[in-house]
């Protein structure tokens, strides 16, 4: 399998706090890579560096053959259409309806999609994928936490990305909704053949969805392997995650 993301020796500090201290990662095409770590271990910072929301201090981040640290803004924006990002809090635009939330990225990427006169079929299709076709005219404040997460996933999918980054997709959800979201992520991956980086604390999520896992401790890859390999590790720091 060909790597679609390669991160080498990534470093990021805030003052004297070294959040990432030489992090390395490779994501292969069609793979689901789960990254686990304690709060404050640098998972979210890493994923934000990966999408260009945070500037890395040093190291290299190569996405689909392009070093994102050297890209111009316009090139970065074009590349971002190939990367979906599901935020922990869903981040739906609360002044827009569900339809407008989904149309928003679609109307602004004429380079990729051309000028779309009628976006309804695409919006409906994206909503059907997450089972919320009926919510098309609702406002975000009328949606439950689980629904918001699904709509956010639909908004991510509408740009047909090759890579999806999930930032704690099940945090704050009840166990049943969490399971639904995990199954949805799995079905999306199977249907669209996307590659995913999933940041989570949720062991069930990691078990179901991961092809490979990285444990991030103190800003470095502490351990790496499949779920079964890590779950059966005797290292106390690794075991602590699976208790």
């Amino acid at each position: 399998m060909k790597p679609i993301i390669i991160i080498r020796n990534l470093k990021k500090s805030y003052g004297s706090n070294h959040v990432l201290d030489g992090f390395n990662m490779e994501l292969n095409e069609g793979e689901n890579l789960v990254i686990m770590g304690k709060s404050g271990s640098g998972k979210s910072v890493m994923i934000k560096c990966l999408i260009g929301l945070e500037d890395a201090d040093s190291g290299s981040i190569e996405v689909m053959g392009k070093d994102i640290l050297k890209l111009e803004q316009e090139e970065m924006d074009d590349l971002r259409t190939e990367i979906g990002f599901l935020f922990q809090g869903s981040a739906l635009y609360d002044s827009m309806s569900v339809r407008e939330n989904l149309e928003f990225p679609l109307r602004r990427h004429t380079k990729k999609f051309g000028i779309i006169e009628d976006t309804t079929p695409l919006v409906t299709e994206a909503l059907r994928n997450v089972g919320l076709e009926h919510a098309i005219d609702l406002m975000p404040n009328e949606l439950s936490g689980g629904m918001k997460r699904r709509i956010a996933l639909a908004r991510t999918l509408i740009l047909q990305p090759k890579i999806i980054l999930y930032d704690e997709p099940t945090t704050g959800l009840d166990p049943i909704t969490s399971k639904e979201i995990i199954m949805l992520m799995k079905s999306v991956q199977e249907k669209y053949k996307t590659s995913s980086v999933i940041i989570t604390h949720d062991v069930d999520c990691a078990r179901v969805i991961s092809n490979r896992m990285i444990l991030l401790v103190d800003g470095i890859n502490y351990a790496e392997g499949t779920f079964e390999e890590l779950a059966s590790s005797t290292d106390p720091k690794v075991k602590a995650f699976f208790k």
Partner: protein, 260 residues
């Protein structure tokens, strides 16, 4: 020693804030003339800002016209100069009171609204979501809002001035039996192009200041939900201060032109 250190730190942070605001304003000019233009959002913002502030501006303008005339009348009567009332009121309102009062109201209404809205979008990662979807959030959120305040403030000032003059006319009509036609004839006789133009130009700058500071505070909002309140609050405080500085400069420059 501690006090000196604190003063020096505050001064440093003040200068750094001025620098950031200047950079933010430079970015606005850079982005405002670059394609694609978010025309639909600009119109929506114009409507929102105009519509949301119109009633407040109208009521305040009306009351200012009434009060100003009521307060000035006894003094003018003492000097037998009541007939100068329309001229005095119109010049005061058009040149100074109308623009500055409308701008202060809009700083409270629009500036704080922008600060809170963008601040809340920042802390709930909506701005980040726009950025990762490959859209320029600065262009969509900031440029449209600043342009809308620049365009709408002069309109609101003109409406506010008109309503204030009508309020003044009502007092004159009730107390001095002055007709509508006579009152406004005197108003337009007293007013010159040189009164209207600086006031209108000044209003564009007021609009720019309101939009710029509101957007700057909201867009750079930190510290979670508490930061949203702080962004809204400081947007009003900084804008009000900036409005008086702009007003002073505008009056100073206008005065030079009058002397010429």
């Amino acid at each position: 020693m501690n006090t000196v250190l604190k003063i020096s730190e505050s001064f440093q942070s003040f200068l750094s804030e001025i620098g950031d605001l200047s950079y933010f304003s430079g970015r606005f000019f850079k982005e405002a003339f670059k394609r694609p233009f978010e025309f639909k959002e600009f119109i929506r913002q114009c409507y929102q800002m105009g519509n949301r502030s119109l009633l407040l501006v109208a009521v305040t303008g009306f009351i200012i016209g009434l009060v100003f005339t009521l307060q000035s009348r006894p003094t003018l009567q003492e000097f037998g100069a009541v007939s100068w009332m329309p001229s005095m009121v119109s010049i005061s309102i058009i040149r100074e009171i109308g623009p500055i009062i409308t701008a202060l109201i809009c700083a409270g209404r629009i500036g704080s609204g922008i600060g809170a809205e963008l601040g809340s979008m920042r802390v709930t990662e909506q701005i980040d979501a726009m950025e990762v979807s490959g859209t320029n959030p600065f262009k969509f959120l900031v440029v449209t809002r600043i342009l809308a305040t620049i365009c709408m403030l002069p309109v609101l000032v003109i409406i506010g001035d008109g309503i204030a003059l009508y309020g003044s006319y009502l007092v004159e009509n009730l107390k001095g039996n002055v007709s509508f036609q006579l009152y406004f004839n005197q108003v337009f006789e007293a007013l010159e192009f040189g009164d209207l133009l600086p006031a209108t130009i000044k209003s564009f700058f007021f609009g720019f200041a309101i939009g710029l500071v509101g957007c700057y505070k909201g867009y750079n909002c930190k510290k979670g939900t508490a930061g949203v309140g702080l962004a809204a609050n400081s947007a009003v405080v900084y804008t009000s201060m900036l409005l008086f500085i702009i007003d002073f400069i505008a009056v100073f420059v206008t005065d030079i032109f009058y002397d010429l």
